[in-house]
Amino acid sequence: MSDYNKPLPPPSVESEPFWDGCKRHELLVPRCDRCAHHWFPPAATCPECWSTDWTWARVSGKGKIYSFGVYHRAYHKGFAEELPYALVVVELDEGPRLTTNVVGCKPEELSCDMPVEVVFDDVTEDRTLYKFTPANDG
């Protein structure tokens, strides 16, 4: 664990509950109490109706690949041994899109609209990352 060499930006005050959820292996997304809109990344107001009343909602973790790019050049030494690796944009069933990695699948096996579901990767004692894997029932 201690030799983990990829960046782990510290959570902000607004994202800390999200990362705490990841540690519990729960995917949490802000959901508006007034209009039920889900959004990401976290922000203090609903971008649809500007309500400040909203709740961290545990979402299904199911979605599909919107698109992806496959890195053939390392911009960070922590990813050098991973080349080629894919940066994937996943659209959750609830609407928001997240940038992530898809595990259990080679870059050449990815395709747009492929169904995926969330998995959690406990990369250090303090941090857990949300990743996705091809959906079993896909």
């Binding site: 990829k6 960046p7 782990l8 930006p9 510290p10 959570p11 902000s12 994202s15 990401f40 990344p41 971008p47 919107y66 698109s67 992806f68 790019g69 496959v70 890195y71 053939h72 050049r73 911009y75 960070h76 030494k77 990813f79 991973e82 080629p84 690796y85 940066l87 994937v88 944009v89 899109r97 997240l98 940038t99 992530t100 990695n101 870059p107 395709s111 747009c112 609209d113 990352l129 990743k131």
Partner: protein
Amino acid sequence: MSTNLSGKYAIVGVGQSPLGKVPELGPIGLFAVAAKNAIEDAGLKKEDVDGLITRGPDDVYCHHQKVGEALGLNVTFSTSTANGGASQTMAVAMACMAIEAGVCNTVVVGYGRDTWSRTHRTAEAKQAVASRPRTYSEFGSEFGQFGAPVNYAVAARRHMERFGTTKAQLGAIAVAFRNHARKNPHAFMQKPLTLEEYLSARLIVDPLCLYDCSVFIDGAGAVVVTTAERARDLRQPPAYVRGFGFGNRLSGWYADDNMITTGAKEAGEAAYKMAGIGPRDVDTAQIYDCFTHMVLLQLEDYGFCAKGEGGPFVASGALEADGVLPTNTSGGQLSEGHIEGMLQVLEGARQVRREHTADRQVKDCNIALVTGHGGNTVCQSALILGREAG
């Protein structure tokens, strides 16, 4: 309420610094050289300048003051912009607005950056590249999201999936701009580029390869904007500002349909309306080309072909000198060099001034569209320049 400013203002002078590897000048020095050349081109003097709108490296606080200090300028109106590559076309429009509002009369607009030297000037600079210190941002860096290319790779992939766009079609953009660059002695990339070489180039972020990415150079460009009335008494034929427009889809590149249809749609519609023209009236386009795919998207959004048909359009040879829409005729950022769109403002003005030699001059050029794109990928600004005021 609205007043149509079409044809009331003009670019009356253009200037650039040395381009390429210019380690002896920093970003402010490059800008100062370009500004001096633009003012001289107009036949104006330092004392005539009472407005300054600038952009340079984001780590220079209050950039316009540093430029003004270097040029010994005191002005009534000055500011620096922060819309990334959409700033330069926007700044020309802002100059028109400022003059219209009566706060100044003659505005220098420009951009300069020592982009090549920042990573090559000294052994320390090269070492900094090798160790790659960077600012990390959450929801991206954890997963290996670094650099600009991935944003355009993701957009290109989605476009390919939805419309059948191909790598070879993106390659037609890179090849066309290289062909233009080879006629421009100041362009950084002079080597011929074939489609075969493009298709076998090393990948950066698949589907984008080396030749899909703009080339980082040192350099600066500047223009002088003043009233059409004053322009008629100056040294050069005016490049009249016939239209401008903006579209900033601030909800983000990854939201909604924003990486398929961009704010260029709104920017273009507003600019065409102001100018009283449509895409068919455009004789040459100078399209912001940080990456090939961004050219393809903008060509669709500015109405030169339907959404999804950008691939066949560029593959038809449309962007070449003898094509239906000679585009980025100085080589663009892909081959002339990345000065954040400023050199394309200059090229648009030069084309409507018809000052190029015959091999580079777009025949009977009356209208040039110049576009800007940037600002976390979602800001778009369009500028229409005309040989005539209306």
